[in-house]
Symmetry: C2
């Protein structure tokens, strides 16, 4: 088994966290990952209290954590207390400063995982008291920014080594198999956060048409855009775009945001109805560049076990592209 | 020493290629890399015949290869013959289909290295007869596209395994130290192509102010843009942008390309004069996100030797973030 500071801290069998993907990562996925030996996170997302309650109930006795969209949490601060009362393994915050929340989470003895997209925000999160930094690259599905996993992880790693050596580092964005796990560890991470690969698991709350579209896609078929958030009337800060599969909707409106805003009443309804119906030509499939590495929808436990097994083999130099002389 | 199919093919001491960076990688850099045991490529770039002649002369007896901007080569096909006559170790082509050039290069017994930015172009290059595919991620400095190294390398690796197992795979974009080398090998690459790190070497043809600006920068400080090409009146196909350090020029014109075109006569002169003078506030510093991992300007041989040594240590599990239990 691969052991790291992350497996030590959370008592895991593999240094793998499932991303708290809003609308996709419910209690069933998080608990399946937890039971298989990873850290499973419920996607608290936009802070719907009754949804979060139901998903924690779905997770049952399995240990899980929970993630939030930080800027949205400001509008629903009471949801944080609700989740703290569940004694989750960790609380994960992304897309905004963790500073207002660290004290209350730590007071309950719960670790804070801060996902960041830049070296600047990594420094801010560490100074605010985060216990684990997730460095999220632009290849990730869903919301994020422009820096790549391959450079963001070692750059933050250098900074942590010099300034906060006890803070753990996790790589996110593009990790979908044992190769990605092993590569992330080589870059200096203590583990990985996996979105798209678990998004396409049996337990995720994703419409089958969307998983099928991702399986059929290559990594070339994704785009970072804001048009889905405009269509959904979600007030995301401008710096965060979301990676989705390109489709007729992004073809029409990406690059014409003003046009979309002018037609927003009609387009919002059209997009939301398509989302409910699983119409992937209008509603967008939220998945990362790793779509090109995904060709099935297995149980989450199988994903985790294979990733850990294949990653360990590579780290041991088996099935490797190199040799020593 | 780390050995791979790449070291076997080109008789190298380390699976490291220096990128043929236009205007930065001359004969001095390429020959220094070659003498240190890597594959050094002269940046034939835009196809200036007398410049290329002078740089091959500078390389002297050292074995080197040469790279071209493929779409530009169409305007100067005679330069390809000129370089073939030098019997280079390899000819590297990027940014356009290699199909028109493979036959004449192979007829001279020279391997073709095709750099691609998408899985689609990888397939096209292999079908055209490329011997080595360089998968270039968006984190790279200079020209490129949007896909990330972390997903592009394994996705192309999967395709090659099933369709062209004898074609070699090299990772480019974000590789600046032993961690990057080791991670690229984990992702399935046979080696790495290194740009920014060699760009900031003693032997590169880069104005000292620009290297200093890159050393002072973090990886957050770069941007992909087309404004430099508009300013330089280079007719790059729209799909290719270039990664540079953000400065007053990109602040002013990125996002207002029409405005720049309207002011192009004045701005072109201003940018070019600043480039000559090393004024990094107006002319842009061409460097990748790896700027955040670069803090000195050592000799190229030292860069190569350290990268190979540190990468090998990691592959052997030394200084590692993981352990086995």
């Amino acid at each position: 088994m691969i052991k790291t500071r992350l497996t030590d801290k959370f008592n895991l069998k593999a240094p793998i966290i499932s991303a708290p993907m809003a609308l996709a990562a419910g209690g069933r996925l998080a608990s399946a990952v937890g039971r298989a030996g990873g850290l499973g996170l419920i996607g608290g997302g936009y802070g719907d209290a009754s949804w979060i309650d139901a998903e924690f109930a779905e997770a049952g006795n399995a240990a899980v954590g929970c993630g939030f969209i930080t800027w949205k949490l400001r509008e629903h601060p009471e949801v944080l207390d609700q989740v703290i009362a569940r004694a989750p393994q960790a609380i994960f915050l992304s897309f905004g400063s963790v500073a207002p929340y660290v004290e209350v989470i730590h007071a309950a003895g719960i670790p804070v995982i801060a996902q960041v997209q830049t070296i600047q925000d990594a420094r801010i999160a560490v100074e605010a008291g985060a216990d684990v930094i997730v460095a999220q690259g632009a290849e990730a599905g869903g919301h994020g920014e422009d820096r790549a996993t391959f450079t963001l992880v070692p750059e933050i790693g250098n900074w942590l080594a010099n300034n906060a050596p006890d803070v753990l580092l996790v790589a996110a964005g593009g990790v979908a198999d044992g190769r990605g796990l092993a590569a992330a560890l080589m870059l200096g991470a203590d583990g990985v956060l996996v979105g798209s690969r678990f998004w396409a698991s049996e337990e995720s709350l994703v419409h089958p048409n969307m998983v099928e579209a991702a399986i059929a896609a290559t990594g070339d078929d994704t785009i970072r855009s804001s048009v889905m958030d405009v269509a959904r009337k979600l007030k995301w800060p401008e710096r965060y775009t979301a990676r989705v599969l390109k489709n007729a909707f992004t073809d029409q409106w990406h690059g014409n945001l003003d046009g979309l805003i002018a037609h927003s009443e009609v387009e919002a309804v059209r997009w939301r109805e398509a989302w409910e119906a699983g119409d992937v030509h209008v509603a967008n499939t939220f998945v990362g560049e790793a779509a090109g590495l995904i060709n099935n929808r297995p149980p989450a436990a199988e994903i985790l076990t294979e990733m850990a097994r294949d990653g360990e083999a590579l780290l041991r130099g088996q099935n490797a592209s190199w040799r020593f002389e």
